[in-house]
């Protein structure tokens, strides 16, 4: 079973990389961008077939390694799509 984990910066945490991307978009002449926030996208292949157990495993990996709870939020989707 495949899981897709998205890690994003919490609101209120300054994101200088996002700001630099927003500036670069501006200098490309792309208008109408008011803000950019950069995050991480992680694909995890699980041997687990039971969705409840897979979610429990994902919770643990996000909390203990994939995200830093001081500055980051996480969410994940399960499925083979």
């Amino acid at each position: 079973m495949k899981a897709r984990v998205t890690v994003t910066l919490k609101n209120g945490v300054l994101d200088p990389q996002g700001k630099a991307i927003a500036n670069a978009l501006g200098s490309l002449g792309i208008e109408g961008v008011s803000d950019v926030r950069q995050g991480k996208f992680i694909e995890v292949e699980l041997n687990e077939t039971d969705p409840a157990r897979a979610r429990a495993a994902l919770e643990r990996m996000c909390k203990e390694l994939l995200a830093n709870p001081v500055i980051e939020n996480y969410r994940y989707e399960l499925g083979d799509a």
């Binding site: 209120g12 945490v13 300054l14 200088p16 990389q17 390694l65 830093n68 001081v70 500055i71």
Partner: protein
């Protein structure tokens, strides 16, 4: 006095800190590989600077989960002195021995230069030999040194006297201009509750001889080694 330096794949200041320790201690520290699950008996454990595990995922994140770190965390909780320099500071926050985190520098640039810091207090194991009101010159070399914690945590840390060093100007004034990387409240180093665990971004081990450009880092190791003997 027994010191151990933990070596991760990608550490690159492990030998520098070993040289500094030996210069002050008169005895070489033990070098301990990250894959070891047992630590030699140590009065001091050093997590050196570098780019452990290539800074994959986040600086210090992988090292925090290496086998030896479980033993280091257990020793720290029992009162063993643990010093994390640069990448070592990042590892200490990732493993939860110190609060907050070290984010990408506000400038997004890797910064390698000498800066001035000031000891926030001089009654600790590490800072006993530093003047309270003067600037110390030490090098920094990092891309992720921007200390971040929420306002409530910062207030608590200041209230508990846990700020160890702050970036300052050559005249010891703590100003926004003297802050090289965007760290909250100019924080360059932080203690745990016991003040025996210290994480700091500047490199005192690179400033122990005049021939190396300065010796302001030497009293740091002298204070530490004298205090532990």
């Amino acid at each position: 006095m027994r010191a151990s330096v933990i070596v991760f794949p990608g550490s690159n200041c492990d030998r520098d800190v070993a040289v500094a320790l030996e210069a002050v201690m008169g005895k070489a520290p033990r070098m301990v590989w990250h894959g070891d699950s047992k630590l030699p008996d140590s009065d001091l454990i050093v997590l050196p600077g570098g780019f452990s595990y290539g800074d994959y995922l986040r600086s210090g994140a992988m090292a925090a989960h290496s086998p030896v770190m479980r033993a280091v965390a257990a020793k720290a909780r029992q009162g063993t002195a643990v010093l994390g320099i640069c990448n070592g500071f990042q590892v200490l926050t990732e493993i939860g021995l110190l609060p907050g985190t070290l984010m990408r520098n506000a400038s997004l640039k890797f910064i390698c230069k000498d800066v001035h810091v000031r000891a926030a207090r001089t009654d600790t194991l590490y800072a006993k030999l530093y003047p309270a009101d003067r600037a110390i010159r030490l090098p920094i070399a990092h891309k992720d040194g921007n200390y971040f914690a929420d306002e409530e945590t910062l207030d608590r840390l200041e209230g508990e006297g846990r700020v160890a060093f702050r970036y300052c100007g050559p005249d010891a004034e703590i100003t926004p201009e003297a802050n090289p990387n965007g760290s909250r409240r100019n924080i360059a180093g932080l203690y745990d509750e016991s003040r025996r665990v210290l994480g700091l971004m500047p490199h005192p081990e690179r400033m122990i001889e005049k021939d190396l450009g300065g010796s302001d880092g030497r009293p740091f190791f002298e204070s530490l080694i004298n205090g532990l003997q």
